[in-house]
Symmetry: C2
Subunit: 292 residues, 2 copies
């Protein structure tokens, strides 16, 4: 029987995950059961939420037990199918563990366009891209003339968000860590500017790049950015609260923001959970495919 | 020359105002200058923002110097007019100091309907009522089926907000301090329920009265309420941040709220400044006059 490797938990994760929390095990390649497909994984996406997810602190979902398959989206090719919706050779996105050949339930897998770069289906055309689209278009309702600021701008969500905002006529300013990431955000993603938060005085640089301050801020990181952005947010500014990645592995007190400025600026703080927008993924993919 | 009394500052206010900060002085009754009116004050409204205002900590407005006339809206009767828009006997709302007979600039005064209870023009039909209307209808966009929770429900803003929400088809639950205020909120204002926050376990009572939790919360007080409401707020709930009265006189660190729940609940936190809605005051007064 064919063997393959899979990454599982060696022990429960209680704090920031480290290598010793994981084990690489050798297992028999599974067979697809009724309604399932067997997929050869090409790419696996380890998004920021996974850390919380492994600790049972993400949206009420239980943590995986040691030895169980782990959460996270993969893109790959169907190698056998017992679901009428999929044929061998189809490319799909779904969850099948951190493994080489994994089983997906057909009703939870999604066929993707193999003529595009496969990894895009986990990024701009996948959950991160949908997150960006939802925050920019459905929550902040960005339009022409907006000044759009986003952090983790070199990441899948932030990078896509800024490009959507630009396509809608906004000016897009990114925040990222280090010159290489900032170059990527400006030169490859086409942002109008990108600020390196590792440089002292980055707050002044961001304010300047925003011509005084943003009308929309898209938060992926947490207080270290948000507390600096609130003072420069324009009156009536919208803040999409998408992620607080810097706090996900923290055991300290919860991230807390001074709320007086929300009133003084007549700001809107808008909480975003991408799950709500999965029913509209096809809409986003159709819109974004020509851009990839 | 006629004399009258006026309340002014005896010294700059730097913390929570106390009696010794004020002086009652005797002054000559002023004359209306060009474009001004002289008004006999019937009621003066000392709203929660006044404390911050006296300390120069309200919306960037400077604090009044000792001896200067103090901010705050009054309603009264015109006793002499040098503005073409006002005649003797008109009733007006405007600012003229904490005094018996005060001068208002005609272009900053507003004629009101004297057949209604005069004090209503400083409450439900005045700035507090406009605040309530703006928060309920323009920010939270309350509609049929909403479960509307508001604190300081016996106050002018909270009491009006709940009544507007009920008129729009929502269920209105108040939070107030003490049995007498709660009776007022239920029996006179017609709320569906009112919770006494001075009773231990009021949070459970509020949750129960909201059938699990509110879909809209209107915050007038501050963290002592808001931190208890956030856990019971329904998914997609809207929170109007209107006032933080309990923090206005505080010298401690700024009131800060844990923001993780805003994301998890897909909540909207909406900052409200009533100044933005003054151009629509007539609209509110026309709507609310039949209710008074």
């Amino acid at each position: 029987m064919a063997q393959q490797i899979e990454v599982v938990l060696a022990r429960p994760v209680t704090t920031k995950p480290c290598a010793a929390d994981f084990a690489v095990v050798e297992r028999a390649t599974p067979d697809a059961g009724d309604g399932e497909i067997l997929v050869r994984v090409a790419y696996l996406s380890l998004d920021p939420y996974i850390g919380s997810r492994l600790r049972g602190k993400h949206m009420g979902e239980p943590s995986p037990a040691p030895g169980e398959s782990l959460p996270g989206f993969a893109v790959g090719e169907v190698v056998s199918s017992r679901h009428p919706g999929f044929a061998i050779g189809d490319h799909v996105v779904g969850e099948c563990g951190w493994t080489e050949l994994g089983v997906m339930r057909g009703d939870q897998a999604r066929r993707v366009n193999a003529s595009l770069p496969l990894s895009a289906h986990l990024g701009a055309l996948g959950m991160p891209g949908l997150t960006a689209w939802a925050g920019v278009t459905q929550l902040a309702k960005v339009s022409e003339g907006d000044i759009f600021l986003v952090d983790a701008a070199a990441g899948a969500v932030g990078g896509t968000a800024g490009q959507i905002a630009r396509n809608l006529g906004a000016r897009a300013i990114g925040i990222a860590g280090g010159a290489a990431k900032c170059d990527l955000v400006r030169d490859a993603y086409g942002f109008d500017a990108c600020i390196d938060y590792k440089q002292s005085g980055w707050q002044d640089a961001a304010r300047l790049a925003c011509g005084g301050g943003p009308t929309v801020h898209f938060e992926n990181v947490g207080l270290s950015v948000l507390q600096s952005v609130m003072p420069m947010l324009r009156d009536y500014g919208r803040v999409v609260l998408c992620g607080l990645a810097e706090h996900y592995q923290s055991e300290g007190p919860p991230a807390s923001l001074a709320i007086g400025a929300i009133i003084g600026k007549r700001a809107q703080m808008l909480g975003l959970v991408v799950y709500d927008f999965y029913p509209r993924l096809d809409e986003w993919v159709a819109l974004a495919t020509p851009w990839v």
